[in-house]
Every structure is written in C-alpha cells, then in structure tokens.
C-alpha cells in the first residue's frame, strides 16, 4: 500500500528512511517463534530463519554434490570438486603444508558466507551477512581458533614471546611496547574481519535501496536514472558478494596459519 501511495504524493523523510531500512527494521518482528530461556530472548525471527536457510542451502549444495560422485563427472560434480579444490589449493597452506588441515573450516566459511551474501540479493530476503552480530561472531570464532592454534602448536610462552621481535635495540623499553601493539593488533584482527564483511554487504544493499527510494522521494521520472543505477550496483554487489566471502575465508586461514607458524616467522 505504502509504495502505491508514495507514487501519488511526496513522502516525508522519515517515511523514506523507513523504506530504505525496512529490511533491517522489520526483520526482528517478522516470522517470529518466541523463545525465552533464563530471561534471554532466543526467539527465532526472520534473521534466524535466513540463517537456517543459508546453512541448509550450503549443506545441500555440497551434500548433493558429494552423493552423485562419478568417475566421469558431470557439470555439477565439477563445480563441487572445483569448490573443494579451491579450498585445498588456494585457501589452505598459505604458510605451510600443516596449515592445510584447516582448509575444510575456511572452505565452509567461504561457501556459507557466499551463500548468505547471494541470498541477501534476493528481494524480500534478509542479508544475514549485513548483520554485525553475525559477522563479529564468526570473527570471534576465528579469533579463538587462532589463539588456540598458536598456543597448542608453539606452547604458551613461545607463542606470546613471538608477538614481538626480541632482537630490537633498547629491548626493555621497545619489546613491551611492540608486544602491546601486537596485542592490540591481535584484537583488531577479528574486529576488522567482522566489520569489513558487515560494512560491505550492508553498504551494497543500502546503495541499491537508496537509488530505488529516490523514485519515491523525487517522483516516478527518477526511475530513468535510479533503475539503471540500481541494476549496475546490483551486478557490482554480486561481485562484492564473492570477493568478501573470499576475503573473509582467506584472512581467517592466514590468521590461523600466522599463529601456527608464529615462532618460525620471526
């Protein structure tokens, strides 16, 4: 109803803002199954539903591919094998062969984020990767794995010692300073990882909505500019969807391997 009315009369800026952001504003109150555990709201809403759908699509995409394996592969099998090969050859082993054992994890991240990114491009869906809780949570998992791997492979002392170079001049002063800088960097890693994905995906969606909302604000003739621009940004966002999924996965892999081989890299 609202878009129809908007075509007839100019809308207020408040209404325009709602039109642009309605995907994010309404997601929490749509398709809700209320659940509350110990006072914590664990309700399943549109965000969670799309999280489930994304996980299911990711699983089915790869699962079906793994069930129809033949010696003479069809197109679908080739795609699935290529995805797997991409993980094994281009994600894993950035710094050492041993790092390859983590590629199934980063490959899962890649496919999962890619599926969620692409699903966010479907009109009426919710782009889960443009929710900062989601991206930061993934980044935190990465953070935990990184620290766990660093400590497990190098030992606690060696690992934390390797955070700053020991052969610096004025060691008593510089070493702690550099160590603290590295500590900050260590926490900045998951933060940037999460925010990068979130901001890219949110901005992509917002640009498209803003261009389309201009039609509501300035009248129907704006469509001649807005629609082509939105289409161009839509196509661009397809590219960004793949790129950001790749960046998230490869950085996760690199962080893990940096921690694994922390002692050797200094």
């Amino acid at each position: 109803m609202r878009p129809m009315l908007a075509l007839l009369q100019q809308i207020t800026q408040e209404e325009l803002r709602h039109e642009i952001l309605h995907t994010w504003e309404t997601a929490k109150t749509k398709w809700v199954i209320p659940i509350e555990v110990f006072g914590v709201d664990l309700s399943i809403n549109k965000i969670v539903w799309f999280l489930f759908i994304g996980a299911a699509v990711t699983f089915l995409l790869l699962f079906i591919g793994s069930r129809i394996l033949k010696d003479r592969p069809g197109a679908y099998q080739v795609i699935v094998e290529e995805i797997y090969g991409f993980g094994r050859n281009h994600l894993g082993g950035q710094m050492g062969e041993e790092g390859k054992k983590w590629f199934p994890y980063t490959l899962t991240l890649f496919v999962f984020i890619l599926v969620l990114n692409l699903m966010g491009l479907i009109p009426g869906s919710y782009p889960v990767t443009s929710n900062i809780t989601f991206t930061i949570t993934l980044a935190l998992i990465t953070f935990l794995i990184v620290q766990q791997q660093g400590i497990a492979r190098n030992g606690v002392v060696k690992y934390f010692k390797s955070w700053a170079p020991t052969d610096v001049p004025a060691r008593p002063v510089l070493y702690p300073f550099m160590w603290i800088v590295h500590l900050i960097g260590e926490f900045a890693k998951p933060l940037t990882l999460g925010v990068r994905l979130y901001a890219n995906m949110l901005a992509g969606s917002l640009v498209i909505y803003v261009f389309l909302s201009l039609i509501l604000y300035f009248g129907v003739f704006t469509a001649f500019i807005s629609v082509p621009a939105a289409i161009i940004f839509y196509a661009f966002k397809l590219f960004i969807a793949v790129l950001q999924a790749y960046i998230f996965a490869i950085l996760t892999q690199v962080y893990i391997e940096l921690a694994m081989f922390a002692d050797e890299s200094h």
């Binding site: 999280l51 699983f59 790869l62 699962f63 797997y84 199934p104 809780t133």
Partner: protein, 173 residues
Amino acid sequence: MGTVFDIGNLGLMFWQLITFAILLLLLYKFVYPPIRDQIIKRQRSIEQAIDEAEQTRAEARRLLEEYRQQIAEARGEARQILEEARRQGEAQRERTLREAREEGERIIQRAREEIERERAQALSEIRREVADMVIMASEQVVRKSLEREDHERLIEEALRELDVELKEKEVTR
C-alpha cells in the same frame, strides 16, 4: 541506528553458533570425505593412465628402433646380394669371353696347320711331277739324238707343259 547496527543480538548469536556448528559437523562428516576420496581416486587413475601412456610410448619407441634396425639390416643384405650377383655376372662374362677368344684362336691355329699341310703336300706332288718330266725329256733326248734347236724346243715345250700342268693343279685344288 540500532536497526542496521544490530550488535549484541544474543538470539542470533546463539542460533548462529548452533547452526554453524551443526553445518561444520555435517560437512566434515558427510561431505568432505567422499569428495576428497573421489578426487584422490581420480588423481590416482590419471597418474596410472599417464604411467601407462608413458610405458606404451617407450614400448612403441623400442619397437620402432627395432624395426628401423631390421630394415637397415635387410637393406644391407639386399645390397650385399646385389653386389654378389654383379660380381658373379662379371666373372661369368669374363670367363665366357676368354673361352670364346681361346676357341677362336684354336680354330685359327687349326686352319693354319691345315693350310701348311696342304701346301707341303702340293709341293711334294709338284716335285715328283717335275722329276717325272725330266726323266721323260731325258729319254726323248737320248732316243732321237736331237739337234741343238730341237733341244731348246724340247726344253721350252717341257717347261710350258709344266706351267699348264701347274695351272691345272691350281684350278683343281
């Protein structure tokens, strides 16, 4: 701002951790192993195929070498045979020629001997004839007591007769 910057959404975080954990578990358990096995299997079969192809190529190269050698041998043998035949032909020709020459010489020799014999025979016959004539002429001289011119005439006659007879002999031969 809270709408697009939805930080601290515990519900989402909870469900996300569960979903992601289940997704990882399922993928690790049911998806990655068969794909990995399939890829390893294909890799192995490709390696095997390459090995086989290499073996076949080596075999082919060996056979080719063998055939080449055989052809070279056959060619050498053929040349040898040809050489032999030519030499034999040459020798045969030489021998035939020599035999023919010898035969000719023999024939000529025989003819020469024959001629020699004939000539000797003819000479001895003439000698006998002349002797007879001399005897006859002597008889006539004795018998008639000839004059001087008669004497000369007789000798003339006798010589003429001898000539005629010689000629006749020549013709009859």
